[in-house]
């Protein structure tokens, strides 16, 4: 983060200082890192440089499942400029595996590789080209093994078992060792309810493997330290989670692994798992030199966990008046070769599996598989995305079966505050599902296509000149979704904030120090806003994020503004109390108002509830030690889902968004242009409206991506990735992106700081099914799989 100064002691990042007379919560304050980012001065993890730095490189398996018979590194080591070559045998500690939840992932392959691209050996060299050539010279003898790639092959009699000696906490519940986790949810009496249904619709759906495709490649710099430890500068989503996994495999105590967040070029879940962190540290410790690793794009596609592909089976029933009687569903998520966060994704898919609807009688089963496909884990929407695609398709199918307007069917069944989730959890804050649908439906529609003299850039196909208006049909579709905010199922989710308040040159200045990973979402902006609001100061410095302060938890699950924002608010409140105490000590004898309730800090002054100024902050703090507090903040506790019934108060908060998609489809060629994706979302309270709208628009277009073009293609015969590049993994360009008008609803959640609701993920859910619904309307095709490819529309 910020600018970096290389010194003898390593890299010293500067904090981000912003001074604003206004700029509290609720305002669209500009990013404090913005000036650095538009001038090219912001130091991303791939930009770091150090004197005597070496380049690290990872040799990866070309096979998805193979036994390693022998590894010969002698030719690589003999290459001039090569400083180290490491294999599994060189790992320094007894702990040789790591993982977010289960430590099932080898740091370097231990005799067997379980997916295409698994790391096998490491090289450190004086130039990237030297490192590449050395990696090529490492001779690895593989004996290929059969692969399992889906539920049928993974659970077939005699199927190879990926992790035969499982003793993890999910193993006892798993029906097969290749099933990592299974979560059923049962409520009511589905069989009886089904008999009341006038219309029943079923569907089988398939969701392709999406990639986060953040632009900044995995990268970082490890610098060996004089104390035998290592300083690691890296782009990640959760410093302390990395630290917990890194230190044991280095054989170092955590205090000897000092981590600092480098600039992060996007994340979207793809940096929750470790990538190059341990590898760079191992090479740095072995060579005694700073080591930088930067993934290539191909390596990035092979080297991080993707969004789980899924197969989903649904049955929905309703009475003739459109009331849902029951839902049955089964969701199969492919977790690939290692656990990553699959178990939590399964919990999300199950508990959010029927969407934001009131249904008394429900049977849900979600499972996560171990296969030889690429590992899958966290991506924006986390299990709820796959389910939303399917249940919203079902709602449209049901509406068709009932002869009812799809929005009206959703309105009739829309969840409201006080309703029960399938898990039995009561939704105890606003749930404006019907209102959000009404709002997107009532937004003005974009004008019809100009068929007289269309600009090809506005048409499906764009610059490729495939249509001058012929073959194009417009479609409109709606969808709504529900996402949990924060970590669920009893996880002790907390964040830490350190706040320091002092007077410098007569001015009160605040410093906020957290370990929150700023990945682009704008947390640093919001922290400064919160400090201004809570402490009444203008100048706030956001300290670089590092492990010298307590954990902030992950920048994921839409949780950071709630959790670390909440922590900053909480610590600021305690600092404020110290200010009042100091004021009472100094001036309380003369002014009884110091003892009154409702004191606040505003405009650099201590002010009573009636607006009377008691003193300036400078007067109170002059000559005092800086007030410097570090406190933890927790949301209310959740509980695990029951292993058999799935019942439990599992989620902290819910967030809701609805979309209306307008598309133009070239029905002869199967090409789609999304004209508009209107979104309405309840954000509780928009702490920074500009950032909130940016999050919604970005999430919306990621949802468009999986609807129409994004997919990691894996050869089912070999489990090899076929398209690890931006040439063939297509993310939307600006000519694919529609207008995204956003309508913000702000209904406070009484349990959350400022009433806010996490915003980042919900728009990624409903975007995809809305686009699909619109394409279905335009084409009349069932389209049960995403991404939709041209041949699905045409065939």
């Amino acid at each position: 983060m910020g600018t970096w100064t290389p010194t003898a002691a390593g890299l010293v990042p500067a904090g981000l200082t912003q001074s604003a007379a206004r700029g509290g919560i609720g305002e669209s304050v500009r990013r404090p890192d913005g000036a650095l980012k538009v001038t090219g001065a912001f130091a991303y993890s791939s930009d770091l440089w150090h004197r005597d730095m070496l380049w690290g490189r990872i040799l990866r398996s070309p096979h998805a499942h193979a036994r390693i018979l022998a590894v010969d590194v002698s030719a690589a080591l003999a290459l001039p400029g090569v400083h180290a070559v490491l294999t599994h045998d060189d790992l320094p500690a007894a702990q040789k595996t790591y993982g977010l939840e289960l430590a099932d992932t080898p740091v370097l392959a231990d005799g067997v590789v379980r997916h295409h691209g698994e790391p096998v050996a490491l090289v450190a060299a004086d130039h990237p080209e030297t490192a590449r050539r050395a990696a090529e010279l490492i001779r690895v003898d593989y004996r290929e093994l059969p692969v399992v790639t889906d539920e049928a092959s993974a659970t077939a009699p005699g199927a190879v078992v990926l992790h035969p000696d499982r003793d993890d906490r999910h193993a006892y519940r798993a029906p097969h060792p290749n099933v990592l986790h299974r979560q059923p949810i049962v409520r009511g009496d589905v069989a009886a309810a089904a008999r009341r249904a006038d219309v029943v619709v079923t569907g089988d759906y398939e969701f392709g493997m999406q990639d986060q495709a953040f632009l900044g490649p995995e990268s970082g710099l490890a610098v060996p330290a004089a104390d035998g430890g290592v300083d690691l500068y890296v782009a990640t989503q959760w410093l302390h989670s990395d630290l917990r996994q890194i230190a044991p495999v280095l054989g170092l105590p955590e205090e000897k692994v000092r981590m600092t967040l480098a600039g992060v070029g996007g994340a979207f879940g793809g940096r929750e798992d470790l990538s190059m962190q341990i590898h760079a540290c191992l090479l740095a410790l072995r060579t005694g030199r700073p080591v930088k690793i930067v993934y290539s794009r191909e390596e990035s596609f092979l080297g991080h966990a993707h969004r789980h592909p899924a197969r989903l089976h649904y049955e929905h029933g309703a009475t003739r008046d459109g009331r849902l009687t029951h839902v049955r569903c089964r969701i199969v998520l492919d977790g690939g070769a290692y656990a990553s966060s699959t178990a939590a994704v399964v919990g999300n898919a199950a508990s959010l599996g029927i969407g934001p609807y009131r249904v008394e009688d429900v049977e849900i089963e979600a499972i996560g598989l171990y296969t030889n496909n690429p590992p899958c884990g966290a991506m924006r929407g986390f299990g709820a995305v796959q389910a939303c695609f399917a249940y919203e398709a079902q709602m449209d199918r049901l509406a068709a079966g009932l002869g009812m307007d799809p929005v009206e069917l959703r309105r009739i069944n829309a969840m409201r505050q006080g309703d029960l989730m399938p898990t039995g959890q009561r939704v105890d804050s606003p749930a404006p599902v019907a209102e959000l649908l009404r709002r997107v439906r009532d937004m003005p529609l974009p004008p019809p296509l100009d068929t007289e003299d269309p600009d090809i850039r506005d048409l499906p196909g764009g610059l490729a000149n495939t249509s001058h208006g012929e073959g194009i049909v417009r479609g409109i579709g709606y969808a709504v979704g529900i996402k949990n905010v924060g970590f669920s199922e009893g996880f002790d989710d907390y964040s830490t904030a350190r706040v320091r308040l002092e007077v410098v040159d007569g001015e009160p200045v605040a410093m906020v120090h957290t370990a929150m990973a700023e990945v682009g979402q704008g947390g640093v902006t919001v922290h400064a806003q919160i400090a201004r609001t809570e402490l009444g100061v203008e100048q706030v410095t956001v300290h670089p994020a590092d492990t010298q302060v307590g954990s902030a938890g992950s920048t994921s699950a839409s949780r950071q503004t709630y959790m670390t924002g909440g922590a900053v608010k909480n610590t600021c409140g305690a600092v404020r109390e110290r200010v009042f105490a100091a004021g009472r000590r100094r001036f309380g004898g003369d002014r009884p108002a110091w003892g009154g309730a409702g004191l606040r800090l505003d405009g650099g002054k201590v002010v009573t509830a009636d607006g009377e100024v008691l003193a300036t902050l400078a007067e109170v703090l002059e000559g005092e030690e800086p007030i410097d507090l570090e406190l933890e903040f927790r949301h209310r506790p959740t509980e695990p889902f029951d292993p058999v019934t799935g019942q439990g108060f599992g989620h902290v908060q819910y967030s809701f968004a609805a979309h209306r998609a307008v598309v133009d489809v070239d029905v002869e060629l199967g090409l789609v242009k999304v004209v508009e994706l209107a979104c309405a979302q309840d954000v509780g309270r928009a702490l920074n409206p500009l950032s909130v709208v940016g999050q919604i628009q970005g999430g919306t277009v990621q949802g468009l991506g999986i609807a129409l073009m994004e997919e990691i293609r894996v050869d089912p015969a070999t489990a090899r990735v076929l398209n690890p590049s931006f040439t063939d993994y297509l993310v939307p360009t600006v000519l694919d992106a529609p207008a995204v008008p956003v309508d913000l609803l702000e209904l406070a959640d009484p349990h959350a700081p400022y009433g806010l609701r996490g915003v980042g993920e919900a728009p990624t859910l409903s975007s995809t099914p809305a686009v699909l619904a619109a394409v279905r309307q335009a084409t009349g095709k069932a389209l049960t799989r995403v991404p939709v490819r041209p041949e699905h529309i045409v065939d």
Partner: protein, 293 residues
């Protein structure tokens, strides 16, 4: 690796003669990808960027002499009237940044069936001027593509320019990709009406091992147009003719399934593009246009 920087064409030919395995480097939009990704480590890179004449074009009476390194962006901006299909294809190439660097010489040198320029060159009619220290020759475009990513160049030869027939009638180009910009062709189609010779030429991209013409479709259309006297009357073409032309164009494909598309969709889409591009071009012809629709 050695970086060769010839200052003129003769030096380039001499360098290529001395190092026949040297890889010519122009816009870099193919070669540098292979180097960055570690797929290729040539002993010599032969930078053609300093040879000014390769970035020049000249309009003659019958043809445009197009330097191998004239970037696509300039073809779009400067040659839309003379080479309408190629200009349309050029605008569909990759991204603005690539269009600022890449040129037709690179497309021809790589000879990927997905290269966007090929269908336009096949439709317009062209000859590729290649040269070595042994001498120069002109290879008809129909004989240039010899296999998947293979062409008729000899190891010591370099592509100097392309002689593209100037448009005497409307031309079109379409390409199907799964994104609305910056996408490699799933398949593509070029079409040129040649009213002078009463012929129609076509080019199919990315639906066969090499770029190719739809010869049977061309012959059918020429016959149908002549038979009904449509070149002279400039009347509308019966739908059955357009439909048959489309079917024959689709039939000229020998596509494969790959990560970008299926064989079936490629064949189908070529048919749709053939029909549409022909109808656009014919409409322009009926309206008296000489350039692109």
């Amino acid at each position: 690796m050695e970086f060769l920087r010839p200052g003129c064409w003769e030096e380039a030919l001499a360098a290529k003669a001395e190092h026949p395995a040297a890889v010519p480097l122009a816009g870099g939009t193919d070669v540098m990808v292979e180097i960055n990704l570690g797929h290729r480590r040539p002993g010599h890179l032969l930078d053609l960027g300093r040879i000014g004449e390769l970035s020049e074009w000249e309009v003659g009476e019958r043809e445009v002499r197009l330097g191998a390194c004239v970037p696509y962006a300039r073809i779009v901006g400067e040659l839309g009237r003379e080479l309408p299909a190629l200009a349309l294809a050029s605008r569909a190439v990759a991204s603005p940044q690539i269009r600022n660097r890449g040129g037709v010489g690179g497309n021809l040198g790589t000879a990927s069936p997905a290269g966007d320029a090929h269908p336009a060159l096949l439709a317009a009619g062209a000859e590729v001027e290649v040269e070595s220290v042994r001498g120069a020759r002109r290879i008809p475009i129909d004989e240039f593509y010899t296999g998947v990513k293979r062409n008729a160049l000899r190891p010591d030869e370099l592509i100097k320019r392309v002689h593209v027939v100037r448009a005497t009638g409307p031309q079109q180009f379409s390409k199907v990709g799964t994104r609305n910009a910056m996408v490699i062709a799933v398949c593509s189609f070029g079409l040129a009406l040649h009213p002078g010779s009463r012929t129609v030429r076509t080019g199919i991209g990315s639906a066969a091992p090499t770029p190719r013409r739809a010869a049977e479709a061309e012959a059918f259309l020429a016959g149908a147009l002549a038979e009904a006297g449509l070149w002279e009357s400039r009347r509308a073409v019966p739908p059955s003719v357009a439909k048959r032309f489309a079917a024959l164009a689709a039939g000229a494909c020998s596509p494969i399934d790959d990560v970008r598309g299926t064989a079936g969709h490629r064949r189908h889409a070529v048919g749709v593009m053939a029909r549409r591009t022909f109808l656009w071009a014919w409409e322009a012809y009926r309206n008296g246009a000489e350039g692109a629709a």
